[in-house]
Symmetry: D2
Subunit: 135 residues, 4 copies
């Protein structure tokens, strides 16, 4: 499978979820145990209209799903999130976000992954971890 075909496949898998379609995610790259997903800031994703900062829930969503898809790249079947932890480092008020997700540990019952989110200036915006139940 070419890299382009693979990315198209991950895009389709991201787009299975109605909420993920609404977020407007884009699969940027994928490898064994890691995936990079991008997301564009837009008005609807805003928490505080005074400073136009993106809602913490959107960043949490990206960290949750990014980690899950990182586990999926290993051909393991992760079926649900057990728990999620997010650190918010800097507000985002414009531009494209890039979420880099990597498997920390693959297990038979649970697996864990870490996601780091950067703004379009390459600055750390949010980061966190999920633990996922294996199927």
């Amino acid at each position: 499978m070419t890299e382009d075909t693979q990315l198209k496949l991950w895009q389709e898998r991201l787009d299975i979820s109605p909420f993920q379609r609404w977020l407007g995610l884009r699969a940027e790259s994928a490898g064994e145990g890691e995936i990079e997903i991008s997301l564009l800031w837009r008005e609807e994703l805003v928490s505080n209209p005074a400073n136009k900062s993106m809602h913490g829930g959107i960043l949490a969503s990206v960290i949750d799903l990014g980690g899950l898809y990182a586990v999926l790249t290993t051909k393991s079947a992760a079926v649900a999130t057990v728990d999620l932890r997010v650190d918010y480092h800097r507000p985002v008020s414009a531009g494209q976000l890039r979420a880099v997700s990597k498997v920390l540990r693959l297990g038979t019952k649970v697996s864990s992954a870490e996601t780091t989110v950067f703004d379009d200036g390459g600055r750390l915006v949010a980061s966190g971890r999920g633990v996922y139940l294996m199927g």
Copy 2:
């Protein structure tokens, strides 16, 4: 201020955020240090269309914002989420969710709050905590 006037006020404050309007949140009750917010399951909020389960990011969003508003009920100015932790207990595929948020500890620099989310059968769906930066 009557209870109804107060609830209307919290509803307005919830609706300031475009993302929170999209979620369709409803302020159900509010007191010193606690707030109850409801949310209706709908197709757009789904993660996995096979079982119609609500996306973990939606539940994380509700826990993040519920805790923030619980801190706001104390007339303290919480300005941003420092970190968020979510436990997923059971998938939700229909009905109304009820999120009960309570302040754990008020501080001058940071405060913490806990949110518990129930489905319309009163079963525990998700729960978690946020730490919030004070203004």
Copy 3:
């Protein structure tokens, strides 16, 4: 089995662990899905000798093990901690701590439990959650 016999049993199970013996834990009460354990402040447990405050690692230990034993009270076999989250609410510089641990959710692969730690004035000192791998 009388309540006393049961408590003696939990005390023995706590004391299997060399580190737990060193901590000087005491099983105070136990029921289906919950356990209460106490711990005395002492010089060796201190982080900062300037204010004699107990080390955060000691409180994290109590929250980790309290949750595990809460799961064990259900006769389920929890074999290891998957992850642990701790909130620190107030420093402790003297007296007896009381840790109340309750199961949040029992599962076949993982279970979760919450522990709340109080000082001898009944004030909230620390609280947190663990997710445990089931045997």
Copy 4:
């Protein structure tokens, strides 16, 4: 100040705490925003004597204090842990552990740091994050 003098200083600062002395920590290296600390497995640190695995509370302690000292290397005054999250990846039953701690984000009110713990085979044992209150 030579590197040796600096390490001696960090060792002294680690040894201020009675609990940290008991743990037997050793400052291995330190730079701006990061510190490496080692710890030897010993019987007293064990949770389960059946497999001699180190107690999760010990690993949580190392992640808590490692992150705090990483913040201190920036000459910022971190005064207390706000919250702590730990992922357990693999049991440790022998040898020397190496904890590498790095600042994630320095703030005026709170800062965050991440710590990764390896066994003497270089395998990931535990990792996690703390948020620290600034003085």
